[in-house]
């Protein structure tokens, strides 16, 4: 009796039933080579299941559960496509932001929210980070990470940041760091399936609209920090 590779695979997938299944079982019992092939099939299946198993247990990102929460919040399909396109177009910032995002995996620190800062301006803790942290040298576990620094056409400096409490873009004005765009932070533990949340993509799209020229490199950034971002 010959058993084709297709048939053995189907056997492993429990697709073959009845008499033929019994015949194949007998053939496998009599032929170590077949038994070995079957073991390989089963091992592969186990390997695949194990590989994908963590996804089933991982917490779902909000962007997947929100549309199901109520019909008011459904984002249009066209909107989603737009967002996808934006993300793809962001690759030119990838070299700056990649390391920052990778490190942001480690963040699970909660900052106290908005305590007494002037409306529209960064609070003391955020302002300190914006003043002093450099993309190149900031600690991997910083509670707020600077994603990118850039200049606006009027010459003022802006920095996009991402933190557990808030994320956004802040621009330096005389009174301090004005929050141009503030999003809720990436709260909650990040896992390997939702690092680099969509808020970063949104922010970086905004940065691209606002920026005059490319992002500051590490030298330019260090110089700007030395001069107090003016």
């Amino acid at each position: 009796m010959t058993i084709t590779p297709e048939e053995l695979a189907a056997f492993a997938d429990a697709e073959i039933i009845g008499e033929r299944r019994a015949q194949i079982e007998a053939a496998i019992a009599a032929d170590p080579a077949l038994a070995q092939q079957l073991a390989a099939h089963n091992a592969l299946k186990a390997q695949l299941s194990a590989h994908f198993a963590p996804i089933l247990k991982a917490p779902l990102p909000d962007r997947l559960t929100v549309p199901l929460g109520g019909h008011d919040t459904v984002i249009s399909f066209a909107g989603a496509r737009g967002k996808l396109a934006v993300r793809k177009s962001n690759l030119r910032w990838g070299w700056v932001v990649g390391p920052a995002l990778a490190a942001s995996l480690a963040i699970a620190v909660f900052l106290p929210r908005g305590s007494g800062e002037a409306a529209g301006f960064a609070g003391p803790k955020l302002a300190l980070a914006l003043d002093e942290q450099l993309v190149a040298t900031q600690p991997a576990d910083a509670s707020t990470r600077i994603l990118v620094s850039f200049k606006r056409p009027d010459g003022s400096y802006c920095r996009a940041f991402n933190g557990s409490a808030e994320s956004g873009i802040a621009c330096r004005e005389n009174r301090g760091w004005k929050l141009i765009d503030a999003l809720p932070g990436s709260t909650g533990a990040r896992n390997q399936f939702n690092q680099a949340g969509s808020e970063n993509a949104t922010l970086l799209a905004k940065v691209q609209q606002m920026a005059d020229g490319p992002a500051l490199d590490s030298k330019q950034e260090a110089a700007a920090a030395r001069d107090g971002w003016r």
């Binding site: 189907a10 996804i55 997947l64």
Partner: protein, 153 residues
């Protein structure tokens, strides 16, 4: 929705990257909600949503390929996209890399049957191909995986 983690697993498996997988999953949910009137009561919701998902994936893959070929060949285009993107940081592991090397049609067959546990008939219905076609894709995909993973081990 209980189906969501499974849908997400399929999406990430198809796309090969968690981030792209979640994009795909999000688009699938949105399209399914928009079209929910078209789902027929009594048919399996999961198969219906998987079908939507793989159709979106194929549309996306097609436009990606077209864009890629404008400048460079397909292979190089994919490489640029995935190297430059942040999700390249995610360690895929041997299995993930092996899956990435499979052609799309074999990968989806392997995912549906070996990971999602669909019977051949159901998987063939989701893909919209005859069972024989599904069977041969599955065998080829499986042999390729065995060869790649066997080498790596």
């Amino acid at each position: 929705m209980d189906l969501l983690p499974r849908l997400r697993r399929f999406a990430i498996g198809l796309a090969g990257h968690p981030f792209d997988g979640d994009d795909l999953c999000q688009m699938t949910i949105e399209r399914a909600l928009t079209n929910r009137a078209k789902w027929q009561e009594g048919t399996r919701l999961d198969s219906w949503m998987y079908r939507i998902m793989r159709n979106i994936w194929i549309d996306e893959a097609r436009s990606r390929t077209r864009r890629g070929r404008t400048f460079v060949d397909e292979e190089a285009g994919f490489a640029i996209g995935s190297e430059g993107a942040q999700e390249a940081q995610v360690e895929l592991g041997n299995v993930g890399r092996a899956m990435e090397r499979l052609p799309d049609d074999q990968r989806e067959a392997v995912l549906l049957v070996m990971v999602e546990g669909y019977a051949y008939k159901e998987a063939a219905e989701i893909i919209g191909c005859p069972i024989g076609t599904l069977n041969s894709r599955l065998v080829r995909g499986r042999d390729a995986l065995l060869a790649i993973l066997g080498d790596a081990a």
